[in-house]
């Protein structure tokens, strides 16, 4: 099975992704992003969403962890690093200890 990629983002920067064969969709609010995501979820295997929207939709995005596809991941857009936060929260809930970021905090 072959899959397609899409990106949902706010700025014009998402257009750059078109050069790599990724379908780009520009939306201007988290609510719109959510609607777009709902329509895209069936057709695309990998969906990138910019960090800001990911943070706002985090509760909605949880449900996609139930099945292998689609894969929805945040891409950094210069505004914080939500991907790392996700990683950290996964680590904390699963292991209960910090084995990655420990040194930075102290």
């Amino acid at each position: 099975m072959t899959g397609k990629m899409a990106i949902i983002g706010s700025g014009d920067n998402v257009l750059a992704f078109k050069a790599g064969g990724v379908d780009a969709f520009t939306v201007n609010s988290a609510e719109k992003a959510r609607e777009k995501l709902r329509t895209l979820a069936k057709d695309y295997a990998v969906i990138f969403i910019t960090d800001g929207f990911c943070r706002e939709l985090s509760a909605y995005l949880k449900r996609f962890n139930e099945s292998a596809y689609p894969i929805i991941i945040p891409v950094p857009d210069g505004d914080g690093d939500y991907g790392m936060e996700l990683l950290r929260s996964a680590m904390e809930s699963a292991l209960g200890v910090d084995i990655l970021f420990g040194r930075e905090d102290k």
């Binding site: 990629m5 050069a19 064969g21 990998v46 292998a68 894969i71 991941i73 891409v75 990683l87 996964a90």
Partner: protein, 210 residues
């Protein structure tokens, strides 16, 4: 710990002992599973972190090129340059099973077109670099996507598994043990009661004979 609401009979005792041994075996198995999942998880999150840092750096670089390309070219030329994929990335979707968690597995094959998909006349060199860099960044991003999904799914499974282990360890097993103890003592008491009754009856019969 509350004991189960069962009749103190030998039949129940036998059944409960069976259940207790199953529960203990299940507990051990789940605990082993949890250990192995945690081992794999800790390897994977390191990989995830490394990839994310790499992707972030590559993307920032590519986007920088992109904005300078946009600044130097007209609207229409930019559209042209970026709308056609120069390298079409083909995602071969598959799934694999890590400790019985079905996770995605993607193999990326890039079919590269010779040269760039636009005329060089109107397009600046910044755009060329940017197109090349963004393609590279995307293949890293896909790799990251797979690892990250695995990490998220495994994390959830670990939490779920932990809950099961705890339920067995702190609820199910103590409950069964307590109930078995209760039935044992109840049966013992019944037996002693029957014995004393027999002794009493025997002594009464002996007295009557005399």
């Amino acid at each position: 710990m509350a004991r189960l609401n069962v009749n103190p009979t030998r039949m129940e005792l036998k059944k409960l002992k069976q259940r207790l041994s199953t529960a203990k075996r299940g507990h051990k198995l789940l605990k082993d599973k949890s250990d192995e999942m945690i081992r794999r998880f800790s390897v994977m999150i390191k990989e995830n972190k490394r990839l994310r840092e790499q992707a972030k750096a590559m993307l920032a670089d590519a986007l920088k090129e992109f904005s300078s390309a946009r600044a130097l070219m007209g609207e229409a030329e930019t559209e042209n340059a970026f709308n056609m994929p120069s390298t079409s990335l083909n995602l071969e979707l598959d799934t694999e099973s890590i400790m019985n968690v079905i996770v995605p597995k993607i193999s990326v094959t890039a079919t590269k077109r010779s040269g760039m998909p636009y005329s060089y006349a109107n397009v600046t060199s910044e755009a060329d670099y940017s197109v090349k860099k963004i393609t590279e960044a995307i293949s890293v991003l896909v790799e990251l996507a797979v690892v990250e999904k695995k990490v998220q799914m495994l994390a959830e499974e670990i939490v779920r598994n932990k809950r099961r282990v705890n339920a067995l360890e702190y609820v199910m097993i103590p409950q069964l043990e307590e109930t078995i103890k209760y039935i044992n003592s109840k049966l013992g008491e019944n037996e002693r009661g029957a014995l004393t009754r027999l002794m009493k009856v025997k002594s009464m019969i002996n007295e009557r004979k005399d």
